[in-house]
C-alpha cells in the first residue's frame, strides 16, 4: 500500500470513529505501557473508542507518524483531530481538560470521580 493509501485509510478511520486510538497492541492486551495508560484513561471515563494496532501493520505504524507528524504511538484522535500522545492525554485527564474536550465534542463519557 502506498503512503497516500495509508493516509486515506487513516482519514476514513478518524472520520468514522469519534474516538480513535492508534496503539501498540489491543485495548484488551496493550503491548506498551504508554498505550496501556491511554486505554486505562479512556476506559475509566467510559468513553466508547476504537483502536488500531500498529504492531500488526508496519505500513500503518509508519503512516500514522507521517500523518500527524508525531514520532510516537499511542496517538489519540477525537472527531478527526489529533489530540496527543500519552503524556498529553495523561495531563489533560488530570486537569479535567479531557472531559471538557469530550463534552464539547458531544462524546458520551462519565466524569471521573
Amino acid at each position: 500500500m502506498s503512503q497516500s493509501l495509508v493516509a486515506e485509510r487513516i482519514q476514513a478511520d478518524i472520520t468514522g470513529n469519534p474516538v480513535m486510538l492508534y496503539m501498540k497492541g489491543t485495548a484488551m492486551f496493550p503491548q506498551c505501557g504508554f498505550s496501556a495508560r491511554v486505554v486505562q484513561i479512556l476506559s475509566h471515563l467510559n468513553v466508547p473508542f476504537k483502536t488500531a494496532n500498529v504492531l500488526e501493520d508496519p505500513e500503518l505504524r509508519d503512516g500514522i507518524k507521517a500523518f500527524s507528524n508525531w514520532p510516537t504511538v499511542p496517538q489519540l484522535y477525537v472527531k478527526g483531530e489529533f489530540v496527543g500522545g500519552c503524556d498529553i492525554i495523561t495531563e489533560m485527564y488530570q486537569t479535567g481538560e479531557l472531559s471538557t474536550l469530550l463534552a464539547e465534542q458531544g462524546i458520551p463519557h462519565s466524569v471521573a470521580a
Partner: protein, 77 residues
C-alpha cells in the same frame, strides 16, 4: 541503540536556548527517559505544539534511536 541523558539535554538546549531541562533515566537502560522542559517560548502554545517543538529539537531521534521519552513541558510560573 541508546542515548545519554546529556545528549538529550544538549539537543533541547541547542534548539531552545532559554530552556531549563531536567532529564531522568527512568530504567537505567539509556532508553527510557523522562524530561521536564520549562521555557518562556512555550507561553501561549498548546501542549501539542510544545511537545512538537521538543521532538523537532531531537531531530528525528524520537521513536527511533530514542525509544521512550516522557515529556512534561511548561512556561515558567
Amino acid at each position: 541503540m541508546a542515548m545519554s541523558a546529556g545528549a538529550i539535554e544538549n539537543l533541547i538546549k541547542t534548539a531552545i536556548p532559554d530552556a531549563r531541562v531536567t532529564v531522568e533515566d527512568l530504567a537505567g537502560d539509556g532508553d527510557h527517559y523522562a524530561a521536564t522542559v520549562v521555557s518562556e517560548q512555550f507561553r501561549g502554545m498548546s501542549r501539542l505544539k510544545q511537545h512538537q517543538m521538543i521532538y523537532a529539537a531531537l531531530q528525528g531521534r524520537m521513536g527511533g534511536e530514542l525509544h521512550a521519552l516522557a515529556l512534561q513541558t511548561s512556561a515558567p510560573e
